[in-house]
């Protein structure tokens, strides 16, 4: 085997995304579009969390906008955002050379393995909300965490078989590294040499400012509490009717509504635990039902 070689740097943030998409498409992944719901992490897309369950093979990759209301900073923090992108890859079952495939994807976006120090540092992933955990690493490039790499072991409280390999790239952080930029808003969104060069700030700064106001000042907690109950009720009805996919959607909705309430600091620690438990019941319930139905369909 010869030493790997990196490509030239991408021209922009979107070029980086396009390269990852093209690369994973070449590995046989279905390139999906973002899920049309607010989620806190790309993993929560049903293409990952639900497809990891059941006996069928599956390969997909997609960009997922992630919303974390409490992380919003009115556009003032160069490293923290309330809305950002993750690039998500799931390969089920994981191929034996998944680590190589992953490293090649870094070379593909211009990270030169002869110059940069890339490490796999123990970090076991867990998401109690969907009853999921796996073993893996955070991947470091010169000390910076650029990806999360996980072999799922359980989802929805159930052992998975076959095992999926899951990769999450924090796109903004990765791009800041590739482009040597210290402030996320200065990232070139499109090609700086194009007719209308746009920075990340041109595209998202105003959104961060206004969404922060919603998250911390204007979110109507009373209304959100009602919404939460509504989502919970709908999710349960759907689950009882044997429809795990929309039941899962409403679990996601409930989860996001909870995140908004939480960002407003409107709940005590005890209440907080109770909310988390309610979301977990919905998500797990939908996941378990989906797994059961997938087994039946495969039989």
């Amino acid at each position: 085997m010869t030493a790997p070689v990196a490509r030239e740097k991408p021209a922009s943030f979107q070029d980086l995304i396009l390269r990852l998409q093209a690369y994973w498409a070449a590995q046989g992944c279905a390139i999906l579009q973002p899920y049309d719901m607010e989620v806190g992490a790309g993993t929560l897309h049903p293409a990952t969390v639900l497809r990891a369950l059941g006996p069928k093979d599956w390969r997909a990759a997609y960009v997922q906008p992630s919303r974390r209301p409490a992380d919003a900073r009115y556009g003032e923090n160069p490293n923290r955002l309330g809305h950002y992108y993750q690039f998500q890859v799931i390969l089920k079952p994981n191929p034996a050379d998944l680590q190589d495939l992953y490293l090649n994807s870094l070379y593909e976006i211009g990270i030169d393995p002869m110059v940069h120090d890339i490490r796999f540092v123990e970090d076991d992933w867990e998401n109690p909300t969907v009853g999921a955990w796996g073993l893996g690493w955070e991947v470091w490039c010169d000390g910076m965490e650029v990806s999360q790499y996980t072999y799922f072991q359980q989802v929805g409280g159930l052992d998975v078989f076959p095992v999926s390999g899951e990769l999450t790239y924090g796109l903004e952080r990765l791009a800041m590294y590739v482009f040597g930029v210290d402030n996320v808003y200065n990232l070139p969104f499109n090609d700086p040499a194009s007719q209308t060069p746009l920075s990340y700030g041109d595209v998202f700064l105003q959104n961060e400012i206004e969404q922060s106001a919603l998250n911390f000042e204007l979110a109507d907690v009373e209304m959100l509490q009602t919404w939460f109950s509504g989502c919970e009720k709908q999710s349960k009805t759907l689950r009882d009717a044997g429809k795990p996919l929309p039941a899962y959607d409403y679990a996601l909705k409930a989860s996001h509504v909870f995140n908004l309430i939480d960002a407003r600091g409107a709940i005590s620690p005890t209440e907080r635990q109770a909310f988390i438990a309610r979301v977990r019941d919905l998500a797990r319930g939908a996941a378990e039902l989906w797994a059961k139905q997938e087994e039946e369909r495969a039989a």
Partner: protein, 734 residues
Amino acid sequence: MAELLLELFSEEIPARMQAKAEADLRDALTKGLAEAGVEYGDVVALSGPRRLAVAISGLPEKSADVSEEKKGPKVDAPEKAIEGFLRGAGLTSIDQAQVRSDPKKGDFYVAIREIPGRPLEDIIAGLVPDIVRGFHWPKSMRWGRGELRWVRPLQRILCVFDGKTVEFEIDGLKSSNETEGHRVHGRGPFKVSSYAEYKETLQENGFVAIAREDRRLLIEDQAHMVCAQAGLELVEDKGLLEEVTGLAEWPVVILGEMDPAFLSLPPEVVQLSMRTHQKYFAVRNPETGELASNFVVVANIEASDGGKSIAEGNARVLSARLDDARFFWEQDKATPLEKMAEKLATIDFKKELGTIADKVERVAALARELAPKVGANSDLAERAARLAKADLVSGMVGEFPELQGVMGAYYALEQGLGNDVIPDAQRSGTQSSEDTGSRISSGELSGMTNLQAGLSEAGVRKIADAIGDHYKPQGPSDAVPTEPVAIAVALADKLDTLVGFWAIDEKPTGSKDPFALRRAALGVVRIILENEVRLKMLDELAVPRTIFVTRQHLRFETNPIDDLLSFFADRLKQYLRDQGARHDLIDAVFALGEDDLVLIVKRVEALAAFLETEDGANLLAGYKRAANILKAEEKKDGAAVEGNVDASLFAQDEERALHTAIETAVSRADAALAAEDFEAAMAALAELRGPVDAFFDSVTVNADDEKLRANRLRLLTSIRAALFRVADFSKIAG
């Protein structure tokens, strides 16, 4: 003689698990060989980020032939028994069995089975898959469609015996004679036929330093070197060194540089941020001893640009981390500790024992009680206790829980040492104004608080020190607090915890001690002894108990104090044993029922010194003689010897002399004990040696006259009683 080389090559193994796995694999392999009757020579075990390996030399080509004997029934046993024996031994006729004679049992059958030795390849091919399948990892996983469990996906199994591959397969993975090197520098694969070739190939072509010790030394040497070249000094960190040894196959040490502005943060914060988040070593200026604006990072690559990009990239990540830390630091400084303390009411300490705010109230009350006994100002102790836990809700401690206490001390100084602190000279002495020495000199006034109200600068410093030190000692090698206010708070915090957990019956059992109660009790023992704090433990434990009853409305089902006291006694014994004190002497003093720990230790020391002298050794011998006679006679009589010595019954001068000597020695010893002069008490009792020896030389205890005998036995019990003032001599060995 042949050699076995086994390498299990996987994706990255967590650094913390490698050393144990290396030892486990070596043990499993040697144990398996030994059980198969194979003798072996030298064993080498190795481990790194992606592999475990064991090489064993001095192996035979096959295991030894074994002859196995199976005892059967007597030759005249019933037919049924003989048939059963044949079946069990796999024989077809009794002619195949031998007959043995036994002088007691008579003649009986023996079946002898000759088991020929097996080729080592076969033994290894059977053993290794069993070891791999049964291997214990702290956390293991499956991958793909496989059933095998390993710490991360297992990629290769290299198994070579006597130069040739040992063929086997585990869950679809075939053994081979190939290994793999560093991903970037020399991946291979490489074929190897011996351990020497394996090690050399990996080193020369594979860019893998396979031995842990080699990598550790390499990192240490390089780290010291890059620091020295820059005129700096490495801050050594054994735990971190061990960790980074498990993170790089080909360690390359790089000196990075950060923005010096971050040095305005507390050094503990900078160092912890480097260590926990980034696994960097801190670097200090050898002249000032202060942190330098550099760090040492261990990379896994010889970068083509000489490590420039790696140094820059790591510096950028560190800056982002320290930016976060600075945000917490500024935000926390602006929040008065009192304000933080209010939030403690929302956090449970332990469900049955209330919130942390409840604990703070109890500790404050207890610290107030303890203060005068340890030479501290009661008001200061109470105030310090009220603020001691406040930093638990600070942003920085949320990020770095290890900094609990440390941050509180910084915030107390920052907030308390404002411009309008009353200079000590202008105050009429509530406390001394000696400089207790603090970590940071003085800070700007950032947030007016009640903390400094009516306090001198020295008072604020004492409070800060008490906040910073009250969790100490955190382990056997950690220092104990020495400033009286800190002592009061540290003791109060630990005693509250111990009495509380005893009250709800959550004591440590066996190896389980989830609330670190042993550490807390040992901490109390050390604080008391190392500061010579004089406390009657029975009385002191009653105080927190009362506080629990009155403040927490906790009902004590049984009184836990006696049990807790013996828990302290066990910790004290452990402590003294660790200091080299004789186990039997500790027991001999403990039997007295003393509950002042400082006095217990003094007694043990005096006793040890006394027994070293000729008088001491002889007196002990005399005591043993008296005790043995008493034991034998009491057994004979079936009753304990009781009553006082009757001086009118003495028949010999030696009896009279001993009696007088005991009375004199006892009164002198008692006076010395009252003055806590244990040496003098021992010396007084040492005067008994002559009279005791003389008594045994010329007096027959077992006199025919029953009255004489009884009186002499009573005289012996009075020797025992006299000595019991300093120790229970029956517990002393020798």
